[in-house]
Symmetry: C2
């Protein structure tokens, strides 16, 4: 009530509306109010000092201290500065989660156990099926390379090449799936990782084949059009990566032309690079920034620990406690458990997103001097579900656009069919990565992905701006734990039906 230092900033912001109120007041009252009446209740800086010398009660400001004005919440006041509410949200969120954390610690004690993590990857310490699978993946990469090598020199026809590539790619998807099914010593986590690696190799080799084929077509067209100078030839040559007039400076990177790219070095650079789309000449960063690399590495290590800790301490007990309500079909408790699970699940997903797309991929890119670091765009501002899907996972999105969506459009498909096709393919891979390791087919992930199509349509059509953004967040926060609970519940029923519940 006393101090009025340091608040000048906050007060200054409101001066605009203050003045307008003062004017209307003088108009309405029409009384003897002097120009300093408006400051009556405020008593700005120098006023109290002046009062010390003034005769008691002599100033008219003392007698009239009210002005005709509206409350700030009334719409007539025109006030709209609720900046502090954001801070309130942050403080409330931090406090709520601090309490949840403390409650969890009191209830369960410390559950974090790094040794337990190892058991997720290994059942039998002398059998490493997942690692073997990953090493075997090299065979398929080499096979694709050899096919391309023969195609480049014309030792294989295009038809034979296509057939061989398709066989190769199909095997890439089928081999790990059958191993995950048939080998008993593989753990679910190990087989998820192996399947993930194989999926990535599949997408990369698909892109590798496509780009090399395009290059051959361009080379063929450049040959037939030889001798005839024109813009077409120049474009074709440029696309092949030949140095044109522009790139004759010493600073220019040496660009690789089509058949020269078919080396093991180039193939393995692409296989390890943080992208799914092959290109003959990737943009390269000039040097490895050591401080940047170190920061990302530390983030990587710390966030890995944090994720493991949060899952063990927070998610596992919550999921275990959810099993009983699920079995009893006690709906209000199911919803309560779902909301309780939603918070840690969402936080872990956010950490995972940052860990994978910012820390890990940037570490890999920095080590390989890979220039294109756009692994994600601003999906957090997404005002529609489709904007989210287009921007949260750029490597996959880029691959889908380049090798799937545009291809379907070229084949004459309607846009909405191509779009549905992309979601179908995505849904297939989601289901592939979840169902096979768990050895049960429930189609929850598939349904979840396919549900995005009507959801995207609805949010695009009916919700704009902040409402759309809130719906996107809600989908993320609620949708994921629903799917997680579904799978965990079914897995639990399958494997622990006879055993008594843990919690």
């Amino acid at each position: 009530m006393g101090d009025r230092g340091g608040t000048g900033g906050s007060r200054r912001r409101r001066t605009g509306s203050r003045h307008s109120t003062q004017v209307t007041e003088e108009e309405v009252r029409g009384g003897p109010a002097g120009p300093d009446v408006g400051a009556g209740g405020d008593a700005p800086g120098p006023a109290p000092a002046k009062d010390r010398d003034a005769v008691v009660g002599s100033s008219p400001r003392e007698l009239s201290c009210h002005r005709l004005q509206e409350s700030l919440f009334s719409s007539d006041s025109g006030f709209s500065n609720y900046r502090g509410i954001l801070n309130w949200c942050v403080v409330m969120l931090v406090l709520s989660n601090a309490r949840l954390f403390l409650e969890n610690l009191i209830k369960y004690g410390i559950l974090v156990d790094p040794i337990q993590v190892v058991s997720l990857f290994l059942k039998d310490p002398y059998s490493w099926p997942a690692l073997c699978l990953v090493i075997v993946a090299n065979v398929f990469a080499v096979a694709a390379f050899q096919i391309e090598k023969r195609l480049a020199v014309g030792a294989l026809t295009e038809q034979a090449g296509l057939l061989l590539h398709m066989t190769n790619l199909t095997t890439i998807l089928c081999l790990p799936a059958s191993v995950a099914f048939l080998v008993d010593s593989i753990t679910p986590v190990g087989s998820v990782l192996a399947l993930l690696v194989y999926t990535i190799v599949f997408l990369k080799l698909f892109s590798y084949r496509d780009v090399n084929q395009w290059c051959r077509e361009l080379r063929a067209r450049a040959k037939t059009g030889e001798g005839r100078p024109g813009p077409g030839t120049r474009t074709a040559k440029a696309s092949l990566g030949a140095s044109t007039d522009k790139a004759n400076g010493a600073a220019a990177q040496r660009l690789v032309n089509y058949p020269d790219n078919l080396t093991y070095g180039d193939l393995y650079y692409f296989l390890f690079a943080p992208t799914l789309c092959y290109e003959l000449n990737f943009p390269r960063s000039p040097r490895i920034r050591k401080r940047f690399l170190l920061r990302r590495l530390l983030e990587m290590l710390f966030l890995t620990q944090l994720q493991v800790g949060l899952i063990q301490q927070w998610m596992v007990p919550t999921i275990q406690n959810s099993m009983k309500p699920f079995k009893d079909m006690d709906y209000s408790r199911i919803i309560e458990r779902l909301l309780k699970l939603a918070v840690p699940n969402h936080l872990i997903w956010l950490i995972f997103f940052y860990w994978l797309f910012h820390s890990c991929l940037n570490v890999v890119a920095e080590l390989m001097k890979f220039g294109d670091r756009e692994f994600y765009r601003d999906w957090w501002n997404a005002e529609s579900v489709s904007y989210f899907w287009q921007n949260w996972n750029i490597p996959v999105h880029k691959w889908c656009i380049r090798h799937f969506y545009k291809r379907m459009l070229r084949w004459g498909a309607y846009k909405w069919i191509a779009r549905t096709g992309v979601f179908l393919a995505s849904a297939f891979f989601h289901e592939y990565l979840v169902s096979i390791p768990l050895r049960m087919f429930r189609l929850w992930a598939f349904t979840g992905m396919m549900a995005q199509i009507p959801l995207a349509w609805i949010t695009n059509r009916f919700l704009m701006g902040n409402y759309g953004n809130a719906v996107v967040w809600l989908t993320l926060i609620i949708g994921q734990p629903v799917a997680v609970l579904m799978y965990v519940h079914d897995y639990y029923v399958l494997h622990h039906e006879a055993a008594p519940p843990t919690a």
Copy 2:
């Protein structure tokens, strides 16, 4: 991944940074990249349609789809649009509280019981001591009025008037306190309300006496300076409320001069008006807006129900559950309980703030056509504790400045002494309103108010901007439940020590 309709807005915002990246990329690569390379990964509107007609793989855009660029989270990217995070905060808060609400319902069932509320006000249905006390308060108002009436005509000397007023004001504070102590049939809630009414009457009559005295002094000076025309006279006259040259229009309100204001009508208008500072001519609103009044009335009724419901359903069980950890001095559980109590306590306080300062006071003001609706300012943006105290309760703040702070400055006190004095007076009244109804003196409220002085100093000195704002919120959210728990704990120990704990 597929749909790209409706996201133009979000994408357009990022165009600026996009272009600059593209330029650096072309500089670095120096390659044959055409002007449409930048859009490679994006595939804006017309691109897919064009591709349908294009020969497969003919466009160079297909071959190079990467650009040299930083990730958005890297500081080098210059990206700073995290608008969506605010929506995330809101969604997370709503979901967390929805879960808490559901958990509470499952745990306790429905505890809301409107009949129980009546028992808080009445112990014995035939004895209404609190209501009697409120009615008796009229006696003191009439006494103050009669003293002023006699002072105005000179039937009493200023000294005698001051003495009588002081006796009157002291009695106002002492009578309800002694009744609350001695009468057994008064409930704590009833006596809080009675004490609150008496405190308001005390502050109002204090202001009434002050302003009337200032008017007498001005009248005396105007008389002695009569015949000598000058700005001093004009000011004095103006302050007395006389219509000057400005106020001769028909629209001007008839202004009341000093002795004419001493009527019962004027006194009771002031006693019921939503202000603590007396003034001869209050600003008046032109008419009663019926829609505005109805909205505020509905808010008043609904929020009253909501507050009672939240207290019965959420706060009471939480407080009851806190008693055991408090008795056992189990610190981690005490903190957990405190944080659990902080959320409902804070929400109820926010609702209470809106209910009292926006709904109730605006209803009263609208009914009385009272013009000055500034009952609160934008304390939610407060960047320091002192800004909060200056802006959350404007009627009290105005009174403190006008009748306490400035008076102390006129008496020659230093600013910091005057400031401390204001907090001391405020702390006294807080303690008065809590200790007497509970019939125990613990000084928690007094300490809480006095702790604001060092806190205000610290926040003013070390914390600026959003950090200061966050600290203010933290003080509000954490400070209040600490005080509440302290009193409840002590009250519980005093009254229920022998009885077994309820929860």
